[in-house]
């Protein structure tokens, strides 16, 4: 959306198409990168705080205004970021250097491309694809390649195991996630994220907003399947067996440090943002206000969207700090024997629901 | 309000859900938990709910002329088309409710009754098949699909009667039922085909139109009508094809309640009710006489029977005769009404007898006594105290069947008797018809109370067995209670509460249609006659019912009159009745044996003459010829040409196998080079 608008705007200024294209991409890309960075910083801070609170601790308190206790450690992640950026960029001697250096960027590209299609508000979306839902799922799989690349290039058995586990897990959980996101797509009859959100206007039963999650029991179930699959796809606890610290040190990230590790981290948190964004757009009404018709326009859209994403990310953290890690066989059992059948029944049910009530 | 399309959907569901249950159970029943009975019960309960919702819809519409037809073309052969479809009107809806209600009661009752049976799941599957085909008959809108389902009903009844096929008598009873039905079905098929050749359509309503336009008439119409009625005779076990029904009691008791009391045998009545408009006056007369005679005749057999189920079986035959009689005298709505009420109380009686037999059976089983017949009423007596629920419900049903006021039977029986009386008043030469009716009514009251008194009153005939008798479990008494409740008049006369008049939703929603045969009395005229005879009939029927009950009371409860003495006095009559008028024996002597002899003669010609000389002769010639050609083939052709080619190929192959390197990519390269060569040649 923004890219097209920018190119159109540049066209009114003069005839410099190549430059206009590059400028438009850069202008819309930089904020996106900033969103990623900011998201990672805030999310890391919140995660540390949430985890600490759930464990009856206080979390980072030192860094922040006044550099003293009681100031909530607001600048903790800034300090972390600086530390990571100035750290030495080590590359193991026996690794495959090219792939080792390339892998973080492939993962980063996957996350970045996905973020480009997230509808932050009515107008705030870098590209408004016809097949937006599908696109986000598709570019999500680029990250897997990066993970396998990183794991293999490190030439380290932990890394390789982590990467293989991660690939298997992400590919497996893409299926229930994809099958569940089909439910809103079926309801709205479109793959376009904006149209999907437009579909969710009005109310259902007069009180609740007409979000797809409230629309019928099947989409209610589908949301949870999608959300849990999303947690699994972002490799977060309780599905974090690819990077299980106690078994694999840190999975495919074992050999990485400093700047490249920061990029991994950035992408991981961006991935959380993307999957939450997809869940919000698909099930929770996107940038629509929870009170139908109230505060439903303009910048409020951004507020609601980010608010919903934030609450979903919070739930992810909450889950992470509540449950223990699954075993590999349990993970696959849950995916193939529970989620996929239920998701298929969901699709069938929604079809029938749409036939009867739609 | 339910609209037409939804009615079609409901009908489809009602029709096919039991079939689904059948399919599931017949293939996977044994592997499912609880042997799959829940599948069948679930399906039938959904069917029941759907039927009830349709009934509710009927009440809410309150439209006597409601009629909905949905059809599709099954076979299109140009000029000749066969359509299948549904014809749903108020009669259909009521009938659907009856079928699904009794069927679901049977399913529930069987849970306990059939527990531990070796073919439990198959039993439930067959129940589903039966319900499917019965619903098919009810919903059919044309004669051909009616016929298909008619035969399916026959098949499923065969399967269910012969459920315990280890027992030779059960297997024989199944066969008998099937074959006897076949006799009637031939007539039915002839009737259908006569209609079709004359009118060119199977659709019932089109047939009506055709008859009213005079496309078929005179004796041909009478013949067609009698043919169609033959089907009903077979299925409703009218005289002279009544012989299968008593034997069919070899099947499990719930099956008897479902098929041989409430639904399958009612199919014949339903058929005549459905097709009433096209029966010519002569055909109707035949129907009336057959029905009336059957009513009296079967009742007279029932008096002397000692097997509790046999009594009920003959009673059923008699009651069906009633209905047929009512159709014959033109009062076919009364026939349908009696069908409805009879379904309830007769099913209740059968379940009650099932409950008693179950109790007897268990008691005998515990005593390790396998010789005593658990169904013989002479072994019972005094069960009143041990089985209060069964006793109470069966008494209510008996009161209903005897035509005592405040119960449903009174209303419907009264209507039938009034119809026959009215008919006789109009045509005095047919005075026998009301005599049949009232006679049968008196005898019915007598033998039904005989059954109650012998089973539940008096002192126990076998005290040892009596000790072990206990009330049946809840799943068995629940259908009893429900059905006996439905035998009370109030359910049929709503919204009016007059116990002596059948005025109610039934008579208002289900109106008699005019006959389409020119010259037949109109519905109005018949109604007039009935109305005229109403009070006389009511008084008379009360009188005969009281007579029957009183006699029974004196004879079996008070023992003022000795049954044995009376039996001796009657002598020949008693003997005839006790032996069912020697029907089976006579059939055997005059029909089966000559037929068997003829068949043996034909078989001799076929096997010993035709096969031995003609067929075997051919065989020998062929064998000789084959031997000749074999020699030529093996020694001549094979050695020179076939093997020669083989040898040549082998030689080439040895040369060519050098190329086979076993490397995949070499092959690929060869293929590629080949493609290039072809392309080059093509381009040039």
């Amino acid at each position: 959306m923004t890219v097209d608008m920018l190119i159109d705007w540049f066209a009114t200024l003069g005839d410099f198409p190549v430059l206009a294209f590059i400028l438009a991409v850069v202008i819309s890309g930089i904020p996106l990168f900033l969103v990623m960075a900011l998201n990672a910083m805030v999310a890391v801070y919140v995660e540390r705080k949430v985890s600490a609170f759930m464990m009856d601790r206080l979390g980072p308190m030192g860094q922040g205004p006044g550099l003293h206790a009681g100031k909530w450690g607001l600048l903790q992640t800034v300090a972390d970021a600086i530390k990571l950026l100035v750290k030495e960029d080590t590359v193991p001697e026996s690794s495959d250097k090219i792939l080792f250096k390339m892998a973080p960027f492939i993962i980063f590209i996957g996350a970045f491309l996905g973020l480009a299609a997230v509808p932050f508000s009515q107008t705030l979306q870098v590209v408004d694809f016809n097949v937006g839902v599908f696109y986000i799922i598709a570019v999500g799989s680029i990250g897997v390649i990066g993970i396998v690349m990183a794991g293999w290039a490190s030439n380290n058995k932990w890394s390789l195991y982590g990467a293989m586990r991660s690939a298997a897990q992400i590919i497996s959980y893409e299926i229930p996630a994809g099958l569940s996101i089909i439910v809103p797509v079926m309801m709205a009859g479109t793959l376009n994220l904006q149209e999907l959100i437009h579909y969710q206007s009005g109310t259902v039963w007069g009180i609740l907003p007409n979000w797809i999650i409230f629309n019928n029991p099947f989409s209610f179930i589908a949301f949870f399947i999608f959300f849990i699959s999303a947690i699994a796809e972002t490799n977060r606890t309780p599905f974090d067996i690819p990077e299980a610290e106690s078994e694999l040190v840190a999975g495919w990230m074992t050999e990485y440090s400093g700047f490249r590790w920061a990029i991994f981290f950035l992408s991981e948190y961006a991935n959380m943002l993307i999957v939450s964004g997809l869940a919000v757009a698909g099930f929770l009404g996107g940038w629509r206000s929870p009170i139908p018709g109230l505060f439903d326009s303009g910048a409020w859209g951004l507020f609601w969207f980010m608010g919903k994403i934030a609450s979903l990310i919070f739930v992810m953290m909450w889950v992470r700090w509540t449950f223990p890690r699954l075993r590999v066989d349990q993970l696959m059992h849950v995916c193939w024997k529970v989620f996929i059948p239920i998701a298929m029944i969901n699709i069938f049910g929604v079809g029938i629901w749409k036939l009867i009530f739609g | 309000m339910i609209t037409g399309n939804i009615i079609t959907d409901f009908s489809l569901l009602i029709l096919f859900l039991p079939l689904v249950a059948f399919t599931v159970n017949i293939f996977f029943g044994k592997r499912l938990p609880r042997q799959g009975d829940w599948v069948s019960i679930g399906a039938i309960l959904i069917t029941l709910i759907l039927s009830l919702s349709m009934l509710l819809n009927m009440f809410m519409n309150w439209d006597p002329d409601f009629s909905h037809e949905a059809k599709f073309i099954w076979m299109d052969l140009g000029a000749f088309k066969i359509e299948l479809g549904f014809w749903v009107d108020n009669i259909t809806i009521v009938m659907l409710v009856v079928v699904s209600l009794i069927s679901s009661m049977t399913h529930i009752f069987s849970l306990e009754y059939m527990k531990g049976d070796i073919r439990y799941s198959r039993y439930y599957a067959y129940l589903g098949l039966f319900t499917f085909s019965m619903n098919g008959i009810v919903l059919a809108n044309n004669l051909i699909s009616l016929y298909i389902f008619w035969e399916l009903v026959g098949v499923s009844s065969y399967l269910l009667i012969a459920h315990w096929f280890e027992k030779p008598s059960a297997a024989a009873a199944g066969k008998k039922a099937f074959l006897t039905n076949r006799v009637g079905d031939i007539g039915f098929f002839i009737g259908i085909m006569l209609m079709f050749t004359a009118i060119g359509s199977f659709n019932i309503q089109e047939v009506f139109t055709g008859v009213s336009q005079g496309l078929i008439g005179g004796s041909l119409l009478t013949l067609a009508g009698v043919g169609l009625f033959m089907g009903a005779v077979g299925k409703s076990s009218q005289f002279p094809l009544h012989i299968w029904l008593p034997d069919a009691m070899e099947g499990p008791t719930p099956v008897s309640a479902l098929m041989h009391a409430a639904t399958m045998v009612a199919a014949g009545v339903y058929l005549t009710v459905r097709l009433f408009p096209l029966f010519s006056p002569d055909a109707l007369l035949v129907i009336a006489y057959v029905g009336g005679f059957t009513a009296l005749f079967a009742a007279s057999i029932a008096i002397t029977q000692n097997d509790i189920k046999k009594v009920l079986a003959y009673s059923t035959v008699s009651q069906l005769g009633y209905m047929i009689l009512a159709v014959g005298v033109g009062n076919y709505i009364a026939a349908f009404f009696h069908l409805l009420t009879h379904a309830m109380f007769k099913a209740c009686l059968f379940y009650g007898s099932g409950s008693v037999i179950h109790a007897m059976h268990h008691s005998l089983h515990e005593l390790d006594d396998h010789d005593t017949d658990p169904q013989d009423m002479r072994n019972m007596g005094g069960f009143k105290s041990k089985m209060p629920i069964t006793y109470l419900t069966m008494t209510i049903a008996t009161l209903a069947i005897s035509g005592v006021p405040f119960f449903s039977g009174f209303l419907s029986k009264d209507a039938i008797l009034a119809g026959s009386l009215g008919f006789a008043q109009h045509y005095p030469q047919h005075f026998l018809l009301p005599v049949f009716g009232f006679g049968a009514a008196a005898i019915t009251a007598f033998y039904m109370f005989r059954l109650i008194f012998m089973t539940f009153h008096g002192e126990a005939k076998m005290p040892k067995v009596f000790k072990g008798i206990h009330e049946s479990p809840r799943v068995m008494t629940f259908p009893l209670m429900l059905l006996s409740g439905l035998s009370i008049f109030i359910f049929y006369t709503l919204p009016y509460l007059n116990p002596l008049s059948d005025h109610g939703w039934f008579t208002e929603l289900i109106r008699a249609g005019d006959s389409v045969v020119p010259g037949n009395p109109t519905a109005h005229e018949i109604g007039e006659g009935v109305h005229h005879a109403h009070y006389t009939a009511m008084a008379l029927s009360l009188l005969v019912a009281g007579l029957g009950i009183g006699l029974s009371y004196l004879m079996y409860l008070k023992k003022k009159l000795s049954a044995e003495v009376w039996a001796n006095k009657m002598g020949l009559l008693y003997k005839l009745s006790y032996n069912k008028y020697y029907f089976d024996e006579n059939y055997d002597r005059f029909l089966y044996q000559p037929l068997l002899k003829l068949s043996r003669a034909v078989a001799y010609v076929d096997w010993d003459l035709y096969d031995k000389y003609f067929i075997n002769g051919f065989g020998r010639v062929t064998k000789w010829l084959s031997f000749l050609t074999g020699r030529i083939d093996y020694d001549g052709l094979d050695q020179s040409i076939v093997d020669g080619i083989g040898r040549a190929t082998q030689g080439f192959g040895k040369q060519l196998k050098q190329v086979q390197t076993g490397r995949l990519q070499n092959y690929m390269l060869f293929a590629l080079v080949g493609v290039i060569i072809i392309l080059v040649i093509q381009t040039i």
Binding site: F21, V131, M149 | L672
Partner: protein, 162 residues
């Protein structure tokens, strides 16, 4: 601009495809295949096939490539980073393939292609869906059967006998 991008995409596609068939290191081949696929995706976008492009990413990048990489890792001793793999009959193959390419190229040049002036479709997904469910229902079902067969076949083939 579009012209320029197009040739860059073509360059990426063909260059990485060349890497795929030429690289000595099997893993490099696999990762070059990734870029080749992504380049082909770009070409699809130029051809107005956005849905197919996304499907390409999902299936090829997310599915097949991962499978291939898994295949490499399961069939090699992965203790050494450099999984080299040799080529055979290089020269004969190159000659044959070049001949093929020249013939095909000649065909492309010599055929008088009829080019219709199409407009970019607004909704490709819906149109594809409609075609799949109506005109091509049978192939669609056959394809689903094929997938099922492949699924079962692959499972049966690769499971350990016990």
């Amino acid at each position: 601009m579009a012209e320029f991008t197009f040739w860059i995409v073509v360059g990426i596609t063909l260059g990485s495809a060349f890497m795929v068939v030429q690289s000595k290191n099997l893993v490099y081949s696999a990762y070059a295949l990734l870029f080749s696929f992504i380049g082909v995706t770009g070409l699809y976008v130029f051809l107005w096939a956005d849905f197919i492009a996304v499907v390409q990413v999902v299936v090829y990048v997310g599915g097949i490539l991962i499978l291939i990489i898994f295949g490499i890792m399961l069939t090699n001793k992965i203790t050494s980073v450099n999984i080299s793999h040799a080529s055979v009959q290089k020269k004969v193959g190159a000659v044959a393939v070049l001949g093929m390419a020249f013939l095909l190229g000649y065909m492309v040049i010599s055929t008088p292609w009829v080019t219709l002036a199409n407009v970019e479709p607004a909704e490709t997904t819906a149109a594809i869906g409609r075609l799949l469910m109506m005109d091509y229902l049978l192939p669609f079902e056959v394809a689903s059967l094929l997938l099922l067969g492949a699924l079962i076949g692959a499972t049966t083939l690769s499971r350990k006998e016990d």
